[in-house]
Symmetry: C2
Subunit: 360 residues, 2 copies
């Protein structure tokens, strides 16, 4: 079964899936694996739910498909299933948290939850979360804030995986930036990494024998190219917007590492199974704090209407806002079951026994 | 005289200049024009200084060269020289200000000043400034925060000047985003608009008979092109990073308009002489609030060192961080005088008399 076409924002690409499995069954199966790895029951449930939600919302690369790699990072000690993030310094609306190398999605959720609380108290709130791990689907924290009526802005650094503009070695990260804006009829959520195409996306294009729709990196001769295989060989994917995304990645890393006093990209292992102890920022703005929330809502709707009113480049393909497809995909996957590759599902089901083994 | 090569970050391009004029003479001449237009003496001095500083820092497009257009917007009523921005709502670390259609650079400076004060009180501060005007050089407010030891993040919406990804009509703005990060040896300041090339940059490339270094927009047949003239004819410049910069422009506009309760891009005049009443956001983060400022400083220096240590794509052209050239250019222009086109300078000098006329 071929899922709907790639969304215009974010790195996800269409995949061939074999099976539909109910949301609850997916969550419970993942939670069972996590409990066997040492997660407390409640935390196993939430962590599993976040993987299921990513798949349910159509972010297949960072949902259930990512779970086996996550399990590997728990088993190899990169992720400590028992560690919970805690506040280590605070001043007014600003807090610094130590993620203690706990599960990245649980840590990030806790940090955004606290930034949201701070924004209800102070109008704006900020949590700098250091010593944490990969947050999986970054968009989750934008949705978290926006679904509570708040603006959420967050970013993370990553292992060095991108050459800066003008350089050939991957010394910067693709440092995703997420911005969620509340709307009653469905939030607007941007979730963008600072590389134009992820390595996962390059691999998918190459496997399909397709060229990229736009230049995606340099070939080994240093020429811009749309050939995904040539970019995989050169290890020189393009920063989004060339010098611009490169510069933005640098300042996002700098702010996150300075505010957390944690690791900068160049200090993080470039082995993805040991990409640990990273730095993240969570900022919440409260559009209701100053009153007139209804007016703010109308303003957001007006912007959406202006986008939808724009003459499209291709007839019948209207301009979309970031995250526009999510609620439709979510509803479809809730109704039909989450699309999961059959082999992947067998692998995860098998982990339940393995996990228990590793506990002995 | 040909100035040094274009910087890797920001829209400025090299220009042919005829004359070097001392910083103080430039500032005083501009201030005299502004006083004749109804600016109070102190505000005339500061507004003039900000134009001179933009040129001094090498941002020629938004410095003295921009002054005649600014004067036109004062004369046509878009900018009220006597209006001062004021706080109209506040809640903790968050304030909403009304720019009252005053001079955009003075308003933006006041808003960042207040966000900085709030960040000293609360760790983080945010000022949403609505009903204001073009802030001229956006990087100025990043430098303002960073030179005071604070992180400054600010953005503005603009008139509709960019087609969104998937659309052919300019319904979104190029909404510049500025991030300034403090360092003792010189801040890191990113100043990026959401179009890959400004119309000014396209014009410069065309005038020199050059192609753009990368795709910059669509031609009239809807094909990506490096031909600046073809993009000028189609009015379809590219968002930076294609769908990514388009999405970022949308959420920046949405946040600014919602938090200010002011105009969104689609509500702003697309006549640049009447681009008035726009919406801006100013956020300051205080890296000293939680202690260990020395450590934060070392972290920033480490990131810069990792960039400088990256193998360059072209031998002898090291990777640079955003804003790296600024202090060198500033020093050179302070020492030799500000480079100003001779005809432009005559025009501005002539305004002193005209300005007085308009006061009668």
């Amino acid at each position: 079964m071929q899922l709907s076409s790639p969304r215009p924002y974010g790195a996800q690409v269409s995949l061939v899936f074999m099976k539909r499995i109910g949301f609850e069954e997916v969550q419970e199966t993942l939670a069972e694996v996590l409990r066997s790895l040492g997660f407390a029951a409640e935390r196993a449930g939430m962590c599993a739910r976040m993987f299921a939600e990513a798949t349910c919302d159509g972010v297949y690369t960072h949902g259930v498909a990512r779970f086996p790699r996550f399990v590997t990072t728990v088993r190899n000690g990169s992720v400590d299933p028992k560690a919970e993030a805690e506040c280590v310094a605070h001043f007014g609306a600003l807090e610094r948290w130590d993620g203690r190398r706990g599960p990245g999605n649980l840590n990030a959720r806790a940090a955004m939850t606290r930034a949201m609380e701070l924004s209800r108290e102070h109008g704006v709130g900020c949590v700098a979360l250091g010593n944490t791990n990969h947050w999986m689907r970054g968009g989750a924290y934008g949705w978290q804030a926006a679904e509570a009526g708040l603006i959420g802005i967050c970013w993370t650094n990553t292992m060095p995986n991108l050459p800066p503009w003008g350089g050939v070695e991957p010394v910067i990260g693709n440092n995703p930036l997420v911005i969620g804006v509340p709307r009653a009829v469905g939030p607007v959520v941007l979730d963008m990494a600072m590389s134009q195409f992820s390595y996962g996306a390059l691999e998918k294009y190459r496997a399909r024998g397709e060229m990229l729709p736009v230049d995606g990196g340099f070939d080994e001769a240093g020429k811009l190219t749309r050939d995904p295989g040539a970019i995989e060989r050169s290890w020189r994917p393009l920063p989004t917007g060339y010098w611009k995304g490169s510069g933005l990645a640098v300042v996002l890393d700098m702010m996150a590492a300075m505010m957390t006093l944690g690791k900068a990209t160049h200090e993080i292992s470039n082995d993805m199974l040991y990409e640990a102890g990273i730095s993240q920022m969570f900022v919440a703005l409260n559009p209701r704090a100053l009153g007139a929330a209804d007016r703010a809502e109308q303003i957001a709707d007006g912007i959406v209407a202006s986008l939808h009113g724009c003459k499209p480049a291709e007839a019948g393909r209207p301009v979309r806002y970031p995250g526009e497809q999510t609620l439709r995909i979510r509803e479809e996957n809730r109704r039909l079951g989450l699309p999961v590759d059959e082999g992947l599902w067998e692998q995860i089901a098998g982990m339940r026994a393995e996990g228990s083994d590793s506990e002995r």
